[in-house]
Amino acid sequence: MKISGMRMREKLIVRVIARALIPFILLFGLYVQFHGDFGPGGGFQAGVIFAAGFVLYGLVFSLADLQRVVPWPVVELGVALGLLLYGGVGVASLLLGGNFLDYKVLDSNDAMQGLHLGILLVELGVGLAVSSSMLAIFYAFAGRREAR
């Protein structure tokens, strides 16, 4: 990305700091994803934070570098898989004899375990769908820019 005449990849300080920060951003995203039951956050926030880490990489280095890490097909797959995972949990609970999205039937022995499993999977689906969607939108915009 070009900002004020100078290419971002030539900016040493930005590059070094981004490189140091990105692992922590991704780790924080995972923390928000899996700690959403106890602290603020959940799949949606985690997905956005996770995508923001990748977007930062794409801004500081280049879109081509980012697409080597996360190729287009992976993003497309993630968008669909996230929604499918959420809906799939609903269908699974239907097939196990409960109502749609009734997580308690997911574990035949312990309803509480089933509840937690269902919420974990559903939040994972939200996180996957949101982070992939954010990346897809970023790719679409940035890809057009680099195509010009």
């Binding site: 879109l63 897809a136 939108i137 970023f138 890809g143 057009r144």
Partner: protein
Amino acid sequence: MLPSEFLLLLFLAITAVVIARLEYLFAAAMLTGIFSLLSAGLFTLMDAVDVAFTEAAVGAGVSAVLMLGTLSLTVREERQGKTRILPFLIVGLTGGALFFGTLDMPLYGDPAAPIHQYLAPDYIAGAESEFGFPNIVTAILASYRGFDTLGEVAVIVTAALGVMALLASGRGQEEAGDK
């Protein structure tokens, strides 16, 4: 209301006016990020931490980047038009009507407000024992209102699909863009 909330609200209003007045769109796009960050601070002060989280991540993080991405496809300066009175009147009237509408709303944090009378007490009383974890927001989003959240995810996926269909027309163009 606490003074710090007033201060944030004041900054929020100033930022909004500056965004509207600025002709240099690059700075305006950056300021929308600051606007979101201030909103996130306001939400935190009002104890809506999950909302603040979303606002900070989406508004201050991703949408500012998307706005910059859009800018790089168009011009950076707003075209100077002459000030027109009719749009100003319409916006002013709509804003005034909205302000008038808030007069009927219950006060912020009023425990007697209708929204706190129905369902919410059950959620607050039941969530922790029913789910075994303390974040009621997660319990509501993922379970009590699981169907709504499924719809929201579908909306986000649809938005992504729409953008992909409109802007990323074919992977051939993507690969051409890489070179």
